[in-house]
């Protein structure tokens, strides 16, 4: 007597994300993630479909009218990314890498809310910080006024139209960093809005972060006690990455390159000394680059101290007080990864991030595959460190961080 087994579907570009992530749900059950407070610090639930709605929130009346015509002509009006160079799906091998195209019937909330809820439930999360996927290239826009206009519309869309539907969704508001005064206005306008947990600079841009024009902005964020994040992205348009003929090469280097440049300027110009209480997060460059730049800067600082006179400690010592998201966590050499965790003081500084639904996303279960990680560190990285950075309340059903620390 044979019983017909349950058939599992093939996964394609329209598969429901709950089916794509079914095995992550099994992992969550296996590891008892219900008992863990988990914050996903970086997610990008496809906002491309909402772009026409976002454009309706443009505050400049001419641009708003123009956007109607440009939207009719092409997707992504006013945006400066290059659609033909988005090869994230690895030639269709990773279907969701081209964006989630699954059906959503619920019309009571924006599609992005439904997709975020699906991910939160499937991955066993408590909350998810939503990033402006559509704006990741915007720092390279040739017209800086457009960066201001588009980001304001986007920020309004997130804050006014998305976050009110789902308290588990949080947002870091996009700073139009190419115009420092506009970035300050953005902080004033959106600080304290429900669900806003911080502010983000997309790292793909050519702006020296130590420029004096930014000091008021940093002071505002420090005073407010909210984090400033630098979110990396790829860039195939600069002179170095133009030499790379494969997406793998460009992606591997350029995500790190932008954060390497900004972090180096941040440290060498003594910004940690000038703004000692400002919480800084470096997002989506993996982790392997961090011990590299720690060693490199320490090595040169000891020989050229006169060029970094604001520093009172080694560059790496300031970096150990910064925060880093772990995704995409390079784990092909666990000895090196363990050394990295030690170098960055991962127990208190590392933040779990999924980057879902991008092609190189990380599931929470990755933190259960590291033999060197103790339970306290695991709980910190999954959620308690983020609670500290983002001023989140840990629900009563979880053990408090200090309880875990005492165990």
């Amino acid at each position: 007597m044979t019983e017909d087994p349950k058939i599992l579907p093939l996964i394609n570009d329209r598969t429901d994300s709950r089916d794509i992530l079914a095995r992550a749900s099994s992992q969550a059950a296996k590891h008892g993630l219900d008992d863990y407070f988990i914050v996903d610090v970086d997610s990008h639930i496809g906002d491309g479909a909402a772009w026409p709605e976002i454009l309706k929130l443009l505050e400049n009346d001419v641009l708003r009218d123009d956007s109607i015509f440009y939207s009719a002509a092409a997707r992504g009006a006013f945006l400066n990314d290059t659609p033909g160079l988005q090869w994230q799906s690895v030639g269709g091998r990773v279907p969701h890498g081209a964006g989630l195209k699954e059906p959503v019937d619920d019309k009571s909330a924006p599609r992005e809310v439904t997709l975020s809820r699906r991910a939160i439930d499937a991955l066993g999360l408590d909350c998810q910080v939503f990033f402006p996927n559509a704006l990741l290239f915007l720092g390279m826009h040739p017209v800086r006024e457009i960066e201001v206009e588009l980001s304001t519309a986007y920020n309004r869309w997130i804050v006014e139209r998305v976050l009110p539907h789902e308290p588990r969704m949080k947002a870091m508001v996009y700073l139009p960093f190419n115009t420092p005064e506009a970035a300050e206005r953005t902080v004033k306008r959106f600080l304290g809005k429900p669900g806003v947990v911080g502010f983000v600079v997309t790292s793909t841009r050519y702006q020296p972060v130590h420029a004096n024009e930014y000091m008021r902005l940093y002071a505002m964020l420090e005073e407010a006690g909210v984090p400033l994040a630098f979110h990396a992205h790829h860039n195939w348009q600069n002179e170095y990455t133009k030499q790379l003929n494969r997406f793998i090469s460009m992606h591997a280097i350029s995500f790190v390159l932008s954060n390497l440049v900004h972090l180096t300027n941040w440290v060498i110009n003594g910004l940690p000394e000038r703004f000692p209480k400002l919480k800084v997060i470096w997002i989506e460059s993996g982790l392997a680059w961090v011990p590299f730049i720690m060693q490199r800067l320490d090595h040169e600082f000891l020989m050229r101290t006169s060029e970094a006179p604001l520093l009172k400690r080694l560059p790496s010592q300031y970096m150990r007080e910064m925060f880093f998201t772990m995704q995409p966590m390079e784990a092909t050499n666990l000895k090196l990864l363990e050394g990295t965790f030690e170098a960055i003081n991962a127990e208190t500084q590392l933040l779990y991030a999924s980057d879902w639904p991008h092609w190189d996303f990380d599931v929470p279960a990755r933190l259960f595959d590291l033999p060197f990680l103790n339970e306290r560190s695991r709980r910190n990285i999954l959620g308690y460190n983020a609670a500290r950075v983002f001023n989140l309340d840990v629900p009563a059903k979880y053990r408090k961080p200090e309880q875990v620390a005492a165990e």
Binding site: T2, L8, I11, N12, A24, V94, P95, R366
Partner: protein, 124 residues
């Protein structure tokens, strides 16, 4: 040892597969050139549903006599790989080994065809 029924023999076409959840495990059974291959539906990378992804032809880079690249092309043998849909880890359908790193491999099961039905054998 435990035998789990997966499919009637004619249910899986050559070049096709069936992925099932049965007996507490998820298993993909693939048929190629008349032979069956069974792999656990769990990618060694992050545990993704490796058997539920696309099957794709192997890609190779061809060099001419002067070792100049002629670019990348599909291999001529028509052999297909299994790709994990989570992150693109790509495995040889017949050996279960990652195409770029043979030490990374899928967990396999013995397949038995008996009385017109396909079974996988679970270790005791």
């Amino acid at each position: 040892m435990k035998e789990l029924f997966v499919a009637a023999e004619n249910e899986i076409a050559d070049g096709g597969r069936k992925v099932v959840a049965t007996g507490g495990v998820e298993i993909g059974v693939f048929r190629s050139d008349g032979n069956y291959y069974a792999w656990r539906n769990e990618c060694p990378h992050q545990g993704g549903p490796v058997c539920q992804g696309v099957m794709t032809r192997k890609v190779e880079e061809r060099l001419d006599g002067e070792r100049k690249s002629s670019g990348i092309h599909y291999a001529a043998d028509g052999h297909r790989n299994i790709v994990c849909p989570w992150h693109g880890y790509e495995f040889d359908m017949k050996t279960g080994r990652h195409v770029g790193h043979a030490a990374t491999r899928l967990r396999g099961y013995q397949v038995k065809v008996r009385d017109g039905a396909v079974y996988v054998v679970l270790p005791a």
